[in-house]
Symmetry: C2
Subunit: 592 residues, 2 copies
């Protein structure tokens, strides 16, 4: 792909080396022939949402899963795609930039050309990243969707690949449905690329960019930990970019072992107030001071501020007034008495930041709200009070505040993100070659080496849920099917690992330094801790289940012995009973 965007830049030696890097392909995508097998038709995670989603997406809901295999694989039901006509594919980066996203282009372009040298890939200046530039956060309004439809028709596109996070891929599903309804031949494919790591569900294990972001941030956090231990006089409050959910903060904590992390999900679940959080941090500082430690490192996800109940309520009032075009200067006088009291209590810099207009997804401008400074300020006040009261005997409290975000998301991508994005690009091609519309490219078993990865595709609509309630009554999201960002699962294995180690992290300074992002030697192939402990591979297990079912059918064929048939009936009866009970008692969402 030639791009005339920007002038050629001088490459460093490392960039030159990285530009020679050739990612591996998993065996199922090697060579020029790939088999595709269709699995069961899909439904939604929460069965109660299925009808709503089916009504909104009549052409694209309930489609089967697709799995890709080597032509030699022993999969009797698979079909080999043999025709590879010339196709034209468009590609859009939607929303914010994330390291590795460019490799999707590379993988897709390569796959297109391998199967037909006359095929074409077109890039749209519509989304993010420095290769194409980022201009729009969404394709959602009727005008935007119509413009996309017209463009795809005019350009005679066979496929449109949309690269982004939960919002962009919700838009992709809508486009796919609109195109199908309008009998537009362009098939829409989604790719999960977002540094937030919040695009996670049964089908999607990881997002392109998250691995790099966590590695770069963990390096910096580790460096700050070393500085803490060396200077022995500062508390570092580090806020991490990653939107509402705390995936980045959790992963970085498991990589770097800072003294403390406060996850937004914990705060929301326990309904902790600003004062509760301040007290929690002060108690930690006091416990450390009793061990003669007057330094420490505390991580805060940028979404934390919205998870604090009273701050969220205040933000809701502010945003509602802003939507009524009340000017920021006069908002404070129009707040409810208690919201006004909280607002006046906050330091001026935070007040100004809370008054910023909300983002397109209704959330506050999280990257602009300096929660780390607010908490450092409140903690300093409280420690000084305790010092006066004689309940705290440590040294003077000194805070240093950081926000790690922009300096990580422009990084060279990690090997994992390079490989993952490149293979996803190839999968996109095979989805289009199989004629699928409204599908997401999926790769599972990611915690294992590339040669063990499983490639497939799942209908985007199968990842949707329907919000029936929101704290924000103006929310556009109510009642509309959408992919919602996954929050950190407080019952999950990754969080459990954090809880098990929290006390040692807090008191023992067992800082760990994964070091700078390496492209060679140990560490280069390291995977995210959360990816490894969570042990997902839902797609792989769905596949395995089908194999068991097939095997039962093969063994218990008409003509088999009465004993075998009786045994099968008895065992299958209890299996179905157990599963029926489980499915009705627990909503699907908890099964993840």
């Amino acid at each position: 792909m030639d791009s005339d965007y920007g002038i050629p830049r001088e490459l460093s030696d490392l960039q030159k080396l990285r530009s020679l890097y050739q990612p591996q392909l998993p065996p199922c995508l090697e060579g020029t022939t790939v088999r595709v097998e269709f699995g069961d038709t899909t439904t939604s995670l929460d069965p109660t949402d299925a009808q709503t989603i089916a009504r909104a997406f009549p052409h694209t809901f309930g489609k089967p899963l697709a799995h890709f295999f080597r032509p030699t694989a022993k999969v009797p039901a698979a079909q080999i795609i043999t025709e590879h006509p010339t196709i034209r594919v468009g590609l859009v980066f939607c929303g914010r930039q994330s390291p590795g996203g460019h490799n999707v282009i590379w993988g897709l372009h390569k796959a297109l050309k391998i199967h037909n040298p006359n095929s074409t890939l077109l890039g749209f200046l519509e989304g993010g990243y420095d290769l194409l530039g980022r201009t729009q956060d969404q394709i959602r309004t009727t005008e935007q969707v119509q413009a996309a439809l017209t463009a795809c028709n005019v350009l005679k596109l066979d496929g449109l690949v949309i690269i982004g996070g939960v919002t962009s891929n919700t838009d992709a599903a809508q486009l796919a449905e609109t195109f199908a309804e309008a009998k537009c031949p362009t098939k829409v494919v989604g790719v999960p690329v977002t540094l937030n790591g919040d695009f996670k569900n049964q089908f999607v294990e990881a997002n392109v960019g998250f691995d790099t972001i966590c590695k770069v941030n963990s390096q910096l956090i580790s460096n700050v930990c070393t500085d803490a231990l060396s200077a022995e006089k500062y508390y570092y409050f580090i806020r991490l970019m990653g939107r509402k959910a705390s995936h980045v903060a959790l992963e970085c904590t498991l990589q770097s072992h800072p003294n403390m992390v406060i996850l937004g999900e914990e705060v929301a679940a326990s309904k902790l107030t600003l004062f509760d959080i301040t007290k929690q941090i002060c108690d930690a500082i006091q416990a450390r001071a009793e061990q003669d430690k007057n330094h420490g490192v505390i991580l805060l996800p940028e979404g934390l501020i919205e998870s604090i109940p009273e701050v969220y309520a205040l933000l809701k009032e502010i945003h509602s007034l802003l939507r009524q075009n009340v000017s920021a200067d006069t908002i404070s006088s129009q707040l409810s008495p208690w919201a006004s009291a909280l607002f006046e209590f906050l330091p001026p810099f935070i007040r100004k930041q809370l008054l910023l207009h909300p983002e397109s997804d209704d959330s506050a401008q999280l990257s602009q709200i300096e929660t780390e400074k607010l908490l450092a300020h409140l903690v300093e006040d409280e420690i000084n009070k305790r010092l006066k009261a004689g309940t705290y005997n440590g040294k003077k409290f000194n805070a240093i505040c950081h926000f790690f975000g922009y300096q990580a998301r422009g990084s060279l991508p990690s090997k994992f993100d390079c490989d993952y994005a490149y293979v996803l690009g190839h999968v996109c091609y095979h989805i289009l070659a199989a004629g699928l519309n409204g599908y997401m490219a999926t790769i599972t078993n990611l915690k294992n080496p590339v040669n063990k990865w499983r490639c497939g595709a799942a209908p985007i609509t199968a990842m949707m849920t329907v919000k029936r309630w929101s704290q924000n009554p103006n929310s556009l999201a109510i009642g509309k099917p959408a992919i919602h960002p996954a929050t950190v699962d407080l019952k999950g294995k990754a969080y459990e690992l954090l809880r098990q180690n929290a006390t040692r992290f807090l008191l023992d300074d067992i800082y760990r330094n994964p070091g700078p992002l390496q492209f060679d030697g140990p560490g280069a192939d390291a995977k995210a801790v959360t990816l490894c402990v969570e042990d997902q591979d839902y797609m792989g297990r769905i596949k395995k289940l089908q194999e068991y079912l097939d095997k039962v059918c093969t063994i218990v064929k008409p003509g088999c012995s009465q004993e075998v048939l009786k045994a099968a009936l008895s065992v299958m009866a209890s299996v179905t009973e157990v599963l029926s009970v489980m499915s009705s008692s627990s909503p699907g969402a908890q099964a993840l």
Copy 2:
């Protein structure tokens, strides 16, 4: 060296690999025997300071240079140190932490044990770094010096190695002199370790830590540049740790090619005011907007704020009042009218930061003053004015501010810093074995591979100058010989390289990404750009000169022909004339 400081921590794979890394030694230090050759006696850089320094340091001033060679090297005047009695050496980290400092311990310990397994190395909990911990910034007062003398006597130390920057090594010279005067047998050796890169003179080409700091910062700056080009809507104002001088900012600019850098030295030389700087940045933003570029990256050294004449004058007044114990709350009412006017003009957050107590070296608390926010604020005001006046037609100005410091100085050291520190540790041993007191370990020709490095030692007093004047009349530094931080040479090659490229950097977005710090592959052996273009090796050239002089003596021996003698006389007459003229017209300081 065993240390019971802190509990064992889990090492990452990369840390484990790095802990196995064995730096090379240059040929002159290989094996168990090293020759030492003494060169000319030294003087001070500025001849007018020599007398003052000689008076203050009667025992340690005017000593010869020392060069270390392989025993097989053809250096007739060299002496081989053959006796290696058991010695006891103490080691102190002084001042702030800097990556790689620990390797000095390793190199010194290794050299001690190679030459006599019974020798001992003791670490003092007195300076910086997480291995020993950092408690004091200096050893300067009479009490501190006496305590050090007593400790060295009690512990029967043969040597004391002091690791730090200009301040610590000035203290080291003072200790050496005091010890000599008191007939204390402990010899004092200095090692140039400071991330600021401002300990530079004829004998010292580079400081341990500077390479790592610049590589880590350059990586982050490059990532931010990519983000700028991708988001296309922000101006990033990045302040860099590095104290008064702008070496870190200059090096990072040459590595990453951001759009703009404002060096403190430029501002001081041109006496640019806050308004001049604001205007300069706004003009740059306007020029870019005319090319439809509404993003950019601007670097600011942390020392910039003190280089702005009117801010410096304000700081001087504030510090003077603080020294008179005027409380910070009432200072603003006691300022001179014009200082008060400037103070009131500044935004509240900066006022608070300017009121902080000065550091032990009389400078402001540079790491705490958010110059980047001040300039972003002033630029926003000015751009809005131009927008109203219709002279600026670009998009809305959005600034994102960063301070890169703490997250870099705790980094794993680069290969260069590992090697440099390790070899310096070895050199320290040989200085002690040669019985030298008040010397600095030096390695020159650093831009070349380790096997070309030249090892030596220079009296610390030869690096001193005497300040006869200061803008701050209370300055303790006046009249006292000290090593002063080197500023960026505005006539030097590195700055020239910056000027040559400044317009392209500003307008063409030729961002360069050196990538994350690598320990393997390309980039791992990259050296600082400034180190390579400056082409120092003063020690090597002094050596070379001596060889020429020796050769002349050998050729023009009594008995040589009249013609040869006449030719020698004629040529030498013009050489001495040229050099006399040069030496008298330009002060030594400019010869660097």
